[in-house]
C-alpha cells in the first residue's frame, strides 16, 4: 500500500508538472527463521531451466533461499528491476550486460547462465531460412534482410561474425527487429530472408522444412557464454552472504541440469507451454558453472567492432566476478 501511495504521489507530481521521483527497493526480506525471500527476474525460455530445476530439487531451500521467479519479456524489465531492488537477481545475455557496464549501470555477474554447445549442427540457436531459399551458406547472408530479437545486441554481432568468417561482407546485412516467436512465420511468409532463432522456435522452423545456414554462437567463439545471472552492486556490497549462497545454489543447479537432460525436458513443462513432443526433440544448451572469459572478451570485441557500445569499451573486470 505504501508503494501504491508513493506511485500515486509520483503521478501527482508529474501532473503538477513538477518532475519525478523514484524509490529504491532494498534487501531481500528475511523471514523469522532466517530464510531469505529472493525474487529472480527471468525470461521464461529453455535457457533458465536450471534455476527452476534447482528450485524443485531444493538446492536453494537447503541454503535458506526461497525463490520466486518473476518472468519478464526481456531485459526491458529485468535490468531496471534488479537495479531498483525489485528483483535480487536477474538473467540476461552477456552483450546486454556489457552494454549496461559501458553505461555504468551498477550490476555484476554472480553466476553463469547458459552457454552454446559449441557444436555446429547441434546448437540451440542459429540462422534459418525457408526450405526453398537460395541462401545455402553463411556467406550468402551478406546483403540480406535478417530478423533478430533485439537490434545492436548479441544476435546481430554474432551473425555478422558468422558472415565475416565465411568470407562474406557483414556490413551490408539489414537487420530487422522481431520477437523470436514471430520469426518462423516471417521466414515462411518471406517478410525476411533469414532469421536468427533460438529454441523452441528453431525446432518450429526445422520441423516446417526450414534450414539452418549459420550457427552464429558456434562461429563467434568456442563454447560461447551466452547469458549470466547478475545482481546489483548494492546487494553484493550489503549482503555478500546471500549472494554467495545464491551463487552456490545456482552452480549446483547448473551442474545438475547439465547432467540430467531428461529432467530438464520435464521441468520445461512446468513453466513454459512448450508442447511435450517439441520438448523431446529440442536441442538443449550447455550449462557449465564457469564463465568462459575468453568468449566474453570476444563478445566485447565484436560489440566494439559493430559500434554497439557507443564508442566506450566495456570493463570486464567490473562486470565479471
Amino acid at each position: 500500500m505504501r508503494r501504491l501511495v508513493a506511485g500515486m504521489a509520483v503521478l501527482a507530481l508529474a501532473a503538477a508538472g513538477a518532475g519525478c521521483g523514484s524509490s529504491g527497493g532494498g534487501d531481500a526480506p528475511t523471514t523469522a527463521d532466517g530464510v531469505a525471500q529472493v525474487k529472480v527476474g527471468v525470461i521464461p525460455i529453455v535457457d533458465v531451466a536450471p534455476i527452476y530445476l534447482g528450485q524443485q530439487k531444493g538446492f536453494f531451500k537447503s541454503r535458506n533461499i526461497e525463490l520466486t521467479m518473476e518472468s519478464g519479456q526481456g531485459g526491458a524489465a529485468i535490468v531496471p528491476g534488479v537495479v531498483s531492488g525489485q528483483f535480487q537477481f536477474g538473467f540476461s545475455n552477456v552483450t546486454s550486460l556489457l552494454i549496461a557496464q559501458t553505461k555504468n549501470v551498477p550490476i555484476k555477474v554472480v553466476a553463469n547462465g547458459v552457454a552454446s554447445t559449441g557444436e555446429a549442427g547441434k546448437d540451440f540457436g542459429g540462422v534459418v531460412v525457408r526450405k526453398d531459399s537460395p541462401i545455402t551458406k553463411a556467406a550468402d547472408l551478406a546483403g540480406k534482410k535478417i530478423a533478430v530479437n533485439t537490434l545492436k545486441n548479441i544476435g546481430d554481432t554474432t551473425v555478422r561474425e558468422s558472415v565475416r568468417k565465411a568470407g562474406g561482407d557483414p556490413s551490408a546485412i539489414s537487420f530487422v527487429e522481431m520477437p523470436f516467436p514471430n520469426m518462423p512465420a516471417a521466414v515462411e511468409g518471406g517478410q525476411v530472408e533469414a532469421a536468427w532463432v533460438v529454441e523452441p522456435s528453431l525446432s518450429a522452423v526445422t520441423a516446417a522444412g526450414g534450414r539452418v545456414v549459420a550457427w552464429n554462437y558456434v562461429d563467434a567463439a568456442p563454447d560461447l557464454t551466452v547469458a549470466a545471472y547478475f545482481a546489483s552492486s548494492k546487494l553484493i556490497g550489503e549482503n555478500p552472504d546471500l549472494v554467495k549462497r545464491f551463487t552456490e545454489a545456482m552452480n549446483e543447479s547448473l551442474a545438475y541440469a547439465d547432467a540430467h537432460p531428461d529432467e530438464v525436458r520435464a521441468v520445461l513443462g512446468s513453466y513454459t507451454k512448450i508442447d511435450a513432443k517439441v520438448r523431446e526433440g529440442l536441442t538443449l544448451p550447455k550449462w557449465p558453472t564457469a564463465i568462459n572469459k575468453p568468449s566474453v572478451e570476444t563478445l566485447a570485441k565484436l560489440g566494439a567492432t559493430d559500434g554497439i557500445f557507443g564508442g566506450a569499451t566495456p570493463d570486464l573486470a567490473k562486470i565479471l566476478p
Binding site: 503521478l11 526491458a76 525489485q86
Partner: protein
C-alpha cells in the same frame, strides 16, 4: 416494454451470428490453406486448447489476477476521476489552470510509463495498477468535466438564488447532470483498464492472463496463445455488457435510457 428492450433480443441474435461467422471464417481459412494452420490454427483447435486451459488451476489464478488488477485499478481511477473532475469542474479558476496540463498528460500512452512502473514495483500488481489507473483516470476525468460543463445555467442560478450550499448545489444540480457522463466515462474506463491490465502483464510479466499469453508465445504454443486471447476478448465483452446493464439500472430515470425524445 420500451423500444430499446424490444430490440434487444434481435440485436443479441445478430451479434451472435456475427460471432459465429467469425468462428466459421477462422475454421475455414486455415483448413483451405489460405493461411498457414501452424500460425493461425482453425477455430476448433483453438477452442480445444481453450478447453484444456480451462481445466487447469493456474489458468483460473491468472484470470483472477487480471480481474483483480482490473477492478482495483478501475475503482481507483473512477474515485479519483470523479473527485478531481467535480473539484476542477466546479471551480472555474482551477479549470482554466489545469486545462492545458490535462490535455498534455492525457494522450501520453500508459505503456510509455513501463520503465517507471518497473522501477517502482518490479513486475508486481503495483505495476499493473499504475498503468491501469493512469489510462483509465483520464477517461473518467474528461467525461466528468464535460458533465459539469453541461449544467443548465438557469438551474445553477436558481440553486444559487435559493441559497443552496456548495454541497447542495453539487448534490442536486451538478451531480444529476453529470451522472450520465460519469457512466460513459466509467464504461470507457472499464474497457481501457482491461486492455492496459493485459498489456502490462504481457510486456513486463506481472501476474495475470497477459503473462500466460507471453509464455505461450515464447513456447510456440500457438493454439493456446489464441485460446488465451479469446479469453481476454470474452472478458472484454462481459465487462462491457455489465457496464451497460449497470448504466441502464442507475440511469433508468434519464432520457438517454428512457428513450424519449427530448422536449
Amino acid at each position: 416494454m420500451t423500444a430499446a428492450e424490444r430490440g434487444a433480443p434481435r440485436t443479441a441474435l445478430l451479434g451472435l451470428s456475427g460471432l459465429a461467422g467469425l468462428l466459421l471464417l477462422v475454421e475455414v481459412l486455415p483448413r483451405a490453406g489460405i493461411v498457414s494452420d501452424s500460425y493461425l490454427p482453425p477455430a476448433s483447435r483453438i477452442l480445444a486448447a481453450l478447453g484444456r486451459e480451462a481445466a487447469t488451476g493456474p489458468f483460473w489464478v491468472a484470470v483472477g489476477d487480471t480481474l483483480l488488477a482490473w477492478a482495483i485499478g478501475l475503482a481507483i481511477a473512477v474515485v479519483a476521476g470523479v473527485t478531481v473532475g467535480i473539484v476542477i469542474g466546479a471551480v472555474p479558476v482551477l479549470r482554466a489552470l489545469t486545462a492545458s496540463t490535462v490535455e498534455f498528460l492525457r494522450p501520453i500512452p500508459s505503456v510509455a510509463l513501463i520503465p517507471l512502473a518497473v522501477l517502482l514495483y518490479g513486475s508486481d500488481l503495483g505495476s499493473t495498477l499504475l498503468l491501469v489507473v493512469y489510462a483509465a483516470f483520464w477517461q473518467v476525468l474528461v467525461q466528468v468535466l464535460y458533465g459539469v460543463a453541461d449544467v443548465d445555467p438557469v438551474a445553477a442560478d436558481t440553486a444559487r438564488s435559493f441559497r443552496f450550499s456548495s454541497w447542495g448545489r453539487i448534490r442536486y444540480v451538478l451531480w444529476p447532470t453529470a451522472l450520465p457522463y460519469v457512466f460513459t466515462g466509467v464504461r470507457l474506463a472499464a474497457s481501457v483498464a482491461l486492455v492496459l491490465a493485459v498489456t502490462t502483464e504481457l510486456v513486463i510479466g506481472a501476474p495475470g492472463l497477459g503473462a500466460v499469453i507471453a509464455v505461450a508465445q515464447t513456447s510456440g504454443a500457438i493454439p493456446t496463445m489464441y485460446a488465451l486471447i479469446v479469453v481476454t476478448g470474452l472478458l472484454g465483452v462481459t465487462i462491457n455488457v455489465a457496464a451497460r446493464a449497470t448504466e441502464r439500472h442507475f440511469l433508468s430515470w434519464h432520457q438517454s435510457v428512457r428513450g424519449e425524445a427530448s422536449a
